[in-house]
Symmetry: C2
Subunit: 351 residues, 2 copies
DNA sequence: TTGTATGCGTTATCAG
DNA sequence: CTGATAACGCATACAA
């Protein structure tokens, strides 16, 4: 990759090109047509006679031609790549969504460009700039921190799909899981088992998902005529350690409770550890319910009752919506409803 | 950062160009120099007078100029992007490595391009083609399935860094964690606690890491004068369910054991569940030791004794090696030695 | 030290 | 339907 073309004309065979690239031009020549025709066939831009099409197709597969995305991006518009802003590639939760996005985009010939927003709006804004400079054809934002306004502005130039909030604007499609209903289902599950004193570990304040789940918790309690006890609501930050600490605080407060609903599974893991350290057994002494249904929740001891989030599907759908947005200017996909997965971490309270 | 410059530069306000881009040309004009000079400053290709440099720098920050990677890639060589082949974006294990790669590359102005190999050589080969067509400046392969031969071939054209195996070739750097020593340490830990009948759950057959960990297990046993009992070696596939099944089989076999060493943490989670279902307590009845030290292992019940893998650092180092390879044609980084993390899942066997 | 000319591989805009 | 030809934004021999 050090040497580029030397001896400019093509008459003398270049001595030692290791990195010879098959260009569209070469295909055209081999097929006896013009470059434009090849391009048209590649992009379906215009009708081409069957005969030439066949010749070109053959030349393409014969020479093993692969279009150069750089040149494509420079010349035309499309780069066939979609920017994906995730909070942290490597998040146990979003991992599956990334896979879904990759799979769905791949089927359509697009490839994702993943970048990490690091949980703050400034980084996300930088990500958007970087992605735009790379000429992505659209941006998918997985539950970002950017303001609605910033997203709308971005959508004026580029198709945008965002998850984790509800937002409607031209060129923008939002895709939201029903966190409220999920929170309600989890809480109702505990109520139905006979629990009355149900503690709640919240997610990050200001995180829309977290707020909705809490609303669901409150709603289910009210519906059952149970007063909300603020002392049973402990603040968490969506990670294990915060769940452990919240539970620790709950226990120290000496406020009685027979069940804990954690706003996500990771915090539930931490909660379980805290309970264990205090000799409290799950579910015999305290029932524990999570939210997300991470793969690992099937293998906790005991397996965790939780609200299932179809994360992979979420990725699939987000990508699908993006493709629709690109092709038709508008999108519409159906998010699956939340499903509660009763497992062994919850049971009726001891009497 | 919502709207870019519109109109202004040109006399007639363009009617509806939403996406006006600030070009190098415009910077040159604003600074009163030629485009080449700007380019030279950007790339440090040649010496430039301080005066002009200052003028250009000002123009750049004033106009908010960002070089277009597409054009850069087309014209010169470099795209400042590095392909990263991971088995599955979303793997709980490699997630941290991806973060490390992203961080280290980011510091040097490079950006990673993640693709999933889906645990098979054919897909990985396709990934390499895709990445090369995108003109990446190098490829990092995280523990792939490609043959050494294929990697060597790839390295003839492009800098390659590969983890999870030991391989030396021009333009290629391999980065390996000492799985053998890690396996030995884990086993020795159990032996030191007094265990003699130590079961082992293997990783995928054919997976180099898995084989090395097994070798470490055998080595430690031999060293202690303990015969290796093939009936205590159960095959796993690195995921939870396989660990559960392997343990189930171990229990059914009625072969006595007082400890289990699992070739990775995920399988250890499955093992813990199987033990729990059979009323076997960890660590009272059976000690359990894993490998990898996933973040979640701090929060299992009880917290899992395991061999710590500095995954984030692995990513950092792989990226660092890649940068060295690009800049100096050779690389050399130091992998940290394995560290055993004793926690509460292991103790001396009941007498 | 600096500017000029040319090309990178593709798409888009024209004529025919 | 098809083929020239001009961009796209930048880097780099080459000339000055």
């Amino acid at each position: 990759m050090t040497d580029r073309n030397r001896g400019r004309g093509s008459t003398k065979p270049s001595t030692q090109r290791t990195d010879t690239e098959v260009t569209l031009q070469m295909v055209a020549q081999a097929a006896g047509v013009s470059a434009s025709t090849v391009s048209r066939i590649l992009n379906g831009t215009a009708a081409v006679s069957e005969a030439k099409k066949k010749a070109v197709d053959e030349a393409i597969s014969h020479l093993g031609f692969v279009p150069n995305p750089m040149a494509r991006g420079l010349a035309g518009g499309r780069t066939l790549s979609i920017g994906v802003i995730t909070q942290s590639i490597g998040s146990p939760f979003y991992g599956a969504a990334l896979c879904g996005i990759e799979d769905e985009l791949g089927r359509a010939g697009y490839s994702p460009l993943f970048v990490s927003g690091h949980w703050n709006a400034a980084d996300e804004a930088r990500c958007i700039d970087a992605l735009r400079s790379r000429r992505v054809d659209g941006i998918i934002v997985l539950t970002g921190r950017l303001s609605d306004r910033a997203l709308r502005a971005c959508a004026r130039n580029l198709p945008v799909v965002v998850t984790g909030r509800t937002l409607r604007a031209p060129g923008l499609y939002s895709l939201n899981f029903d966190d409220f209903e999920g929170g309600r289902m989890a809480t109702r599950h505990l109520i139905d088992l006979g629990h009355r004193r149900i503690a709640f570990i919240t997610g990050n304040p200001g995180h829309a998902d977290a707020a909705e789940r809490y609303r669901g918790y409150c709603s289910a309690l009210e519906e059952a005529g149970i007063a909300i006890d603020p002392r049973l609501v402990a603040p968490g930050e969506f990670h294990e350690e915060s769940g452990r600490r919240a539970t620790e605080a709950l226990i120290q407060s000496r406020r009685r409770f027979t069940a804990i609903f954690s706003a996500n599974d990771q915090m539930a893991y931490g909660a379980a550890l805290a309970l264990h350290r205090h000799g409290l057994r799950v579910p015999d002494d305290v029932s524990l319910v999570g939210f997300d249904d991470l793969p690992a929740s099937l293998y906790t001891i005991p397996p965790l009752s939780t609200v299932h989030q179809p994360v992979y599907d979420l990725g699939l759908l987000a990508a699908s919506a993006m493709l629709q947005l690109i092709r038709q200017g508008a999108a519409s996909v159906e998010m699956p409803a939340p499903v509660f997965m009763p497992r062994q971490s919850s049971r009726s309270p001891a009497t």
